[in-house]
């Protein structure tokens, strides 16, 4: 059947492109595989060029498939083809165009495609540069691509779902198959739901979502490359040689993945109300862990490069980093973290396939590794105690331990599936839950690791391969001495008391000073050679910034009043509109509320006391001057839920971070149209009753204006009453009012009369008793409560050190990459 207005051709073409990328990867793996398993001599035989050309052509087909898939998905998103399930689920008409890219990778299919694309691009760089390593690396890469492309196939083999296609039409979804509307050729015109999609999650509608995923996935893709070289090294028994071409890639991966992870932190800090930049959330953890092992692998690769022996640990770490990326993919995409993470993907029913991906590469690569382990060259002698390689090895082990601990804690949901009461092997009686206080748990275990790492970072530049001359290692004492003084000063200045924190502050300062010293005195501040020193110095700054801003994070919005014995303190401050409230060291006032697009913005003005010698007493209020205005907002989204977004004032040495934790978000009309539950009262002339705890209602007079009786029965047939009341305010103001009451036969007319400017209305319910007691019912408008919001505000001191450190670390790592590429280019010329 031909469906009117449906882009079924493009849907089919898109699926063909996915199939092409899958088939291309398969053929490439086949041809590269043949070459990879031949000896170098055999490769030089006649069919060499034919085989290599065939393999490259196949990889080219694969690339065309990937590019075609991207092009069609973008076209569909750009043109709002809502008959595509992916387009309908992830975009909408009212979305700004710049977020089309975000829609592209919001879903699982799109993010797989992103990963696939980076692998493909890096694959071409390998083809151009890897020379004799091309066969092995591209063989392994094609296998990876084969698995990733299969995630997008969206076909059924019997009952097994293989992949999830981004091009599936809504009428083709399993739940819609056979429904009557799918038989209509003009269903797109008939069903209004197809005119607009669901839109992007408001949490993701910001520029971070445009830049963070591509960076992170480029980082993930870069982790794959050292793995490819390590595997090739195993296949071809070039156990130590592989580190040379792999080194620049490893440091590239360290730079990009590190940037991606920290960018995620910056996003959380800038745009989400998690209350910090790092929450030890399972999703954050699982992208940090491969970075840790990659850093360990990168450092050991330098050891192997110099020693030309004992590569086992290095190969293992390179493999492990890639496996941990796969594991991270499994954790975030299988839905297994559902209970424990705020930002995991939903289950797409691909768990079997994800497990197959993880299982194949884990068993495959570790199997090959252990098979080859006995053939690997062993170090003849132990490393000297004063050698750089010995301490680098200790550092790598520490990083590995740190990664193992984070992985273990993050994997608690997986452990439940394996050994929990309903698991495969029921060992545990009850389900394990993640640590109740994640920050405390991870900090207490990770700070000791960070202590060791930062000490090693400080001394490593002053160590030499094989053995370090004594006079060189002594030169580190200069930094060590300065560190002691600085640590004491900073700890005293910030009033740090926890021993662990002071320890980390000291070691991180040491790492910073030692590397700065090394860069300035030994390398004379040269940029080209300073990559290592800069990266280390940057990482030390990240540690210092994270430590101080976390340890000294201060909630200034603390509500000091005692509320309940179970709630000793409260971090929410109540801000009635236009009222100026003290929030040390500021005074704050909620000035206005605006609607900007989907956002409800709250303007909160901060004041400082402009009276240098003032004490913090009430008298200060007369000496306030505006310091700054913040605009925390709530993104309104009826379907996906409202999102509180913070607003931050940056100073060079601290940030004031605020977000609105509660606000009455109803529209103005709704707020003013509502009346509260009525209140009934009885009174006599001359009586007074309290109304809404605010007013005194005084019964003035009750006048019978007209009355008529049935002459035969003596019953009342007609009655007109007028009740005069006065409402007295606390301030002495008086508001007189006359309430009518008409009786005609059995019909009562007693209109409600409103004091418009007071937001109160009253109805006269008639005379209740013979002594003249009469009843009234009164309502108060809901908006009669002065509007207020609750806000949280925190000071993050010295958080800029963290961002500065991140940048230095990224720049330093990239300088190291550049130095290595530069060297290898020059070596080629010789």
């Amino acid at each position: 059947m031909h469906y009117l207005g449906e882009h079924s051709f493009w849907s089919t073409l898109g699926r063909l492109f996915v199939a092409l990328s899958f088939a291309g990867a398969l053929i490439a793996a086949f041809f590269y595989g043949i070459q990879a398993f031949r000896t170098p001599a055999e490769r030089e035989e006649r069919p060499v060029l034919t085989l290599r050309r065939a393999a490259r052509w196949a990889f080219g087909l694969h690339s065309i498939g990937v590019l075609g898939t991207i092009a069609i998905l973008f076209t569909a998103l750009f043109n709002h083809w809502f008959e595509f399930d992916y387009v309908w689920r992830h975009s909408s008409l009212d979305m700004p165009m710049q977020y089309i890219a975000s829609c592209f990778w919001e879903g699982q299919e799109g993010s797989f495609l992103l990963w696939l694309t980076w692998h493909m691009i890096l694959g071409w760089v390998l083809i151009r540069t890897a020379k004799t390593w091309e066969y092995g690396t591209l063989f392994a890469l094609s296998l990876v691509q084969l698995f990733l492309a299969s995630m997008l196939l969206g076909i059924y083999l019997g009952d097994i779902k293989l992949g999830s296609s981004p091009f599936i039409l809504i009428r083709e979804l399993p739940e819609n198959l056979g429904l009557p509307w799918t038989e209509m050729s003009d269903y797109l015109m008939r069903i209004p739901a197809f005119r607009d999609g669901q839109g992007l999650n408001p949490l993701l509608q910001n520029y971070w979502m445009v830049i963070h995923p591509p960076t992170l996935f480029l980082g993930f893709a870069a982790v794959t490359i050292p793995f490819l070289f390590a595997m090739t090294g195993l296949f071809e028994r070039r156990y130590t040689e592989w580190v040379l071409p792999a080194l620049p890639w490893t440091f590239f991966g360290i730079a990009i993945l590190g940037t991606g992870v920290l960018m995620g932190g910056a996003w959380a800090y800038e745009a989400l109300s998690f209350g910090g930049f790092w929450a030890w959330d399972p999703v954050e953890n699982s992208s940090l862990v491969p970075w840790l092992t990659l850093v360990a692998a990168g450092h050991l690769m330098m050891v192997v490069k110099h020693k030309k022996t004992a590569p086992a640990t290095t190969i293992f770490l390179a493999i492990l980093s890639f496996l941990l990326v796969l594991y991270s993919t499994f954790l975030t995409r299988s839905g297994i973290l559902g209970d424990t993470s705020v930002h995991a993907f939903v289950d797409l029913g691909l768990n079997g396939q994800l497990l197959a991906l993880l299982g194949f590469f884990t068993l495959g690569s570790l199997g090959v590794f252990f098979w080859h382990q006995r053939h690997m060259p062993k170090s003849a002698s132990e490393d000297a105690f004063s050698s750089r390689e010995f301490w680098m090895f200790i550092g790598a082990l520490t990083l590995l331990l740190s990664a193992a601990q984070i992985t273990f804690s993050t994997s608690i949901p997986v452990l439940n599936k394996l050994i929990g009461p309903d698991g495969l092997v029921p060992i545990l009686q009850t389900q394990m839950a993640p640590p109740a206080d994640a920050a405390k748990h991870y900090n207490s275990l990770q700070i000791p690791f960070a202590l060791i790492i930062s000490v090693l970072m400080g001394i490593a530049p002053f160590l030499r391969w094989k053995e370090t001359p004594k006079e060189l290692s002594r030169r580190v004492l200069w930094s060590a001495g300065l560190t002691l003084i600085l640590t004491a000063l900073v700890a005293w200045g910030l009033q740090l008391t926890e021993v662990l924190y002071i320890g980390l502050l000291g070691t991180a300062l040491f790492a910073f000073l030692a590397n700065a010293d090394y860069w300035l005195r030994f390398l004379r501040g040269k940029w080209t050679a300073g990559g290592m020193a800069l990266a280390h110095l940057g990482f030390a700054l990240v540690l210092i910034g994270a430590l101080i801003s976390n340890a000294k994070k201060e909630a200034i919005s603390t509500n000091a009043t005692f509320i309940h014995q179970d709630f000793p303190a409260n971090e929410n401050i109540l801000l009635p509109q236009s009222d100026t409230v003290s929030m040390y060291p500021y005074y704050v006032s909620w000035k206005a509320e605006r609607t900007e697009g989907h956002n409800r913005v709250f303007d909160v003005e901060f004041y400082e006391v402009d009276m240098p010698l003032a004490s913090w007493a009430d008298g200060e209020r007369n000496h306030l001057k505006t310091a700054f205005t913040l605009h925390p907002f709530i993104q309104m989204n009826a379907r996906m839920g409202n999102v509180r977004e913070p607003s931050t004032q940056h100073f060079w040495n601290k940030d004031i971070y605020t977000y609105v934790s509660y606000a009455d978000l109803r529209s103005e009309a709704e707020k003013s149209g509502d009346w509260k539950e009525p209140m009934e009262a009885s009174l006599k002339t001359g009586d007074e009753v309290f109304l809404f705890n605010t007013y005194l209602l005084h019964g003035d007079t009750l006048v019978v204006e007209d009355a008529a009786f049935d002459p035969t029965t003596g019953e009342l047939t007609h009655l007109d009453l007028a009740l005069s009341l006065t409402l007295k305010g606390m301030d002495g103001s008086q508001y007189p009012l006359v309430l009518p009451y008409h009786l005609d036969g059995n019909n009562v007319e007693n209109a409600e009369v409103e004091w418009a400017d007071l937001g109160i209305k009253i109805r006269f319910d008639g005379v209740k008793d013979e002594d003249g007691t009469y009843g009234i019912t009164a309502w108060e408008k809901k908006s009669n409560d002065p509007p207020f919001i609750l806000m949280q505000a925190f000071i993050f001191p010295y958080i800029n050190l963290l961002w500065l450190g991140s940048i230095l670390m990224g720049v330093g790592s990239l300088l190291a990459v550049w130095k290595r590429i530069y060297r290898s280019l020059n070596e080629g010329k010789k």
Binding site: W181, G641, N642
Partner: protein
């Protein structure tokens, strides 16, 4: 003993130590009954929000009081010292971390599982279909 063996032993010891500490830090998934027995220990309870009982948010004190039903069907009053999470009523499941006191379960953290958090599970709604002659919704 060789230095490498000493290092290996130290690494294994540290690893076991770290894992034991992790296991000790791990809280347990409990029911309200278990939480009551173990008060004041902090536990994690997976429950559903009881929409039929009154829910009260006192904005001035910023205390949310509601009732939740755990997996055994046990109902409990829960107090939460934070503003009501957005879309609280739409949650399918709530994960409460906190402890029991004599009066109620005091939640320090609430994680919600919403059907709509990332993708809407409901899919397209084809109920509204225009017939041949006139639009009807």
């Amino acid at each position: 003993m060789k230095r490498s063996s000493i290092i290996l032993l130290a690494v294994v010891a540290l690893l076991i130590g770290a894992l034991l500490v992790t296991l000790q830090d791990a809280s347990i998934y409990a029911t309200f009954d278990m939480a009551k027995k173990q008060q004041p220990e902090t536990v994690t309870v997976v429950a559903t929000l009881d929409l039929d009982s009154p829910m009260d948010f006192d904005p001035k004190a910023s205390i949310l009081t509601f009732q939740a039903i755990d997996k055994d069907g046990q109902r409990s009053v829960v107090r939460y010292n934070q503003p009501k999470p957005t879309d609280f009523e739409r949650s399918e499941e709530i994960t409460l971390t906190g402890h029991y006191t004599d009066s109620a379960f005091i939640a320090t953290e609430i994680l919600m599982k919403c059907p709509s958090k990332y993708t809407d599970g409901e899919g397209i709604n084809p109920d509204a279909i225009y017939t041949d002659n006139q639009p009807s919704t």
